[in-house]
Amino acid sequence: MDALKIEKISKRFGDFYAVKNFSLKIPEGTIYSLLGPNGAGKTTTIRMVMNIIIPDEGSIQVLTEKMDDKMKSRVGYLPEDRGLYPKMRVGELLLFFAELKGIRGQEARNRIDHWLERFDLANWKFKKVEELSRGMQQKIQFIATMIHQPDLIILDEPFSGLDPVNTKLLKDIMLEMKNQGRTIIFSTHRMEQVEMISDNICLINKAEMVLEGKLSDIKQQYGKNTVILDYDGDASFIRTLPEVEKIDDYGKFMEIKMKERSDPQDLLNKSVGKIRINKFEVREPTLNAIFIDKVGESNAQDNIGH
């Protein structure tokens, strides 16, 4: 069963296509990442899924039904532009959000206490939202997203602005939700998180889908054409080697894309003695490299087209 099925949706704002002929299927019980550069159409897509804006064409099915008010209480949504009512007390604010999702009374209060405990915010229940730090406010927003135990959870840039401790906490909760059979869709720029927890990914660029599928399949497609090099010293000579197609140098760490049918062993031999090698790994490209590759490629095509 698909938790989300999008068929050929398009959305135009004036002459500008925010999303163009976009289709997607997200299987139930998986963690799915929506990737793409800024302005690619991720947020517009998510807003259409949430029925906040209406697509010009195409159809969307959420949990096998058409999205409507009733379905909204089975979906949890953390928008990218998120905030809270600054003057409200934490407890009553969460109660308000719970009520909007149809959870009322004692049941709602119990769940609020449970989650505040879980996020280490129990002492803040009677404080005003404006007294909380940004990170704490973000945790309140997560609680608001999950208070009604939704079957589908949509998180737009959930990790932005979180410190490492809370990033881990959120990641743990996301995995826990997945293990309970819930489906999680999230958008992000941070590829390392995607690589660690996503089952499937979809890459959007300029309103259109560029790449979609199981993360492991996508990586296999690219094959083991990449070398990860952890080094000390001056490695600028690698750029000029004939085996090398492209490098992404971080100063102490380098991701090298090899030319087709070239042997990584040659690269290793040529490097020995020139730099100090701490790690040399032949593997699939990182998602980061795939991302830059694909987005760059589609932008280049675009430029030719013009």
Partner: protein
């Protein structure tokens, strides 16, 4: 519907709890009372000082009587006017010249010139630096008139005993005719209606601003999209407007209680301190004015409230909102400026047309109703037009709101707003 109720509840509790609401609710009646009581107090507690007034009495028979008649007292029990008779030493012109100088030097507050032929229709003169103290001029004029008239009557050989009786002033009772008959009215009904219209005007603007600020807060705090993941933009807008309406009614209810208590007990309190004020009639307002007041408040509130909500969704902060709010507020200010005109000629065709214009109707039709109850078809027409316009405004505002509330950054131009309205 339960979601809208949750929104209404939230709005209501959040606003009723603010200091602004509590202070405004208490201060409102206090200010209102001050508006009504202070002028009355000023009237009764005049803080004038004694004034020296010169009298040039060429008839030689008025001064004594005038001195007796002008016996108004100050609060401290002293005479308000000290009269000083001035005799001609050489010639009249020189004396008057001298007196003019004395007035300018503030030795005299004024002088009164009484010609020889005052009884035969000669004109008396009041000369002062300030000739706008109508109270004082009235006192003097009245005193002179009654002295001269008494004198003439005595000249006709009338019994001095009876003259006092004949001189009793006429009492004028103002009454108002309505379709339900004639009612006694000393101007109080009109005053209260005037106050009701002002209350309607102020509360519509006040609650409109609260709606505006609420929408902007939701937008600028970025909470709106989280809320919209649970309900439709229209539900949020409707809940907000209804919730704030509930706050308005709470405030009115509290004020009404104040008002009832005030009319019940204020008489005693006022008359204890200012016995003279006890005769001031406490006006009664017919119930239909209150009913129309509520009807026009509700309609005016929704008309302007939805407009304010629409504008709030277009802007990023309150400063930006001020430019857009201006024309809307003008729609409320214009009828206030037209009030005097409508009061003077409530059934002129211009007044009728003005009071039918939906944006003006809440204020001007209510005003006409309280001044001179217009024919019912006119009232009904203005209400129907107002309802239709309000529905249209709700439709337009909702279309703008659902897009605007999620748009950040540059404020959209008019063409862009029209485009938004066409979005699905």
């Amino acid at each position: 519907m339960r979601k809208i109720i949750s929104v209404i509840k939230r709005e209501y509790i959040q606003i009723v709890r603010t200091k602004g609401f509590i202070i405004g609710t208490i201060l409102g009646p206090v200010l209102m009372a001050a508006f009504i009581v202070v002028p009355i107090l000023v009237q009764f507690v005049s803080v004038d000082k004694q004034e020296k007034i010169g009298v040039v009495d060429l008839s030689c028979e008025v001064f004594k009587e005038l001195d007796k008649k002008l016996d108004q007292e100050l609060k401290d029990g002293n005479r308000r006017y000290i009269l000083q008779e001035l005799k001609i030493k050489e010639d009249l012109g020189q004396l008057l010249e001298e007196l003019n100088k004395k007035v300018l030097a503030k030795e005299l507050a004024a002088y009164i010139y009484i010609p020889e032929n005052i009884s035969e229709g000669g004109i008396a003169e009041y000369v002062s630096e300030h000739v706008s103290d109508f109270d004082k001029q009235g006192n003097i004029g009245q005193a002179l008139s009654s002295i001269i008239i008494e004198k003439r009557l005595r000249g006709e050989g009338l019994d001095p005993e009876k003259i006092g009786q004949y001189m009793r002033p006429v009492r004028l009772d103002t009454k108002k005719v309505t379709t339900r008959g004639v009612e006694r009215d000393a101007g109080g009904t009109f005053m209260i209606s005037f106050v009701l219209v002002l209350i309607l005007y102020m509360t519509v603007i006040f609650y409109g601003q609260i709606i505006l600020r609420g929408v902007i807060e939701e937008k600028s705090s970025r909470v709106v999209e989280i809320v919209l993941s649970s309900l439709k933009p229209f539900q949020l807008m409707a809940g907000k407007i209804l919730g704030i309406a509930a706050v308005g009614f709470t405030q009115y209810a509290i004020w009404a209680l104040f008002g009832i208590a005030a009319t019940k007990y204020s008489g005693n309190v006022v008359s204890r301190f200012f016995p003279a004020a006890a005769n001031f009639p406490i006006p009664t307002i017919p119930a239909y004015i209150f009913i129309y007041f509520i009807v026009f408040f509700i309609l005016g509130y929704f008309l302007y409230g939805t407009m304010y909500a629409g504008i709030g969704s277009l802007v990023n902060n309150e400063k930006e909102a001020q430019h857009l709010v201006m024309p809307v507020t003008m729609f409320l200010v214009v009828p206030i400026m037209l009030m005097m005109f409508v009061i003077k000629s409530p059934d002129s065709s211009v007044s009728v047309i003005l009071s039918l214009i939906p944006f003006f109707a809440p204020i001007l039709m209510l005003l006409r109703i309280s001044v001179l109850l217009p024919p019912f078809p006119q009232i009904a027409a203005s209400i129907v037009l107002l309802i239709l316009t309000t529905i249209l405004m709700i439709w337009i505002s909702a279309k703008i709101y659902r897009v605007g509330i999620l748009m950040y950054g540059k404020r959209p131009g008019f063409a862009e707003i029209i485009k938004w309205m066409r979005y699905r």
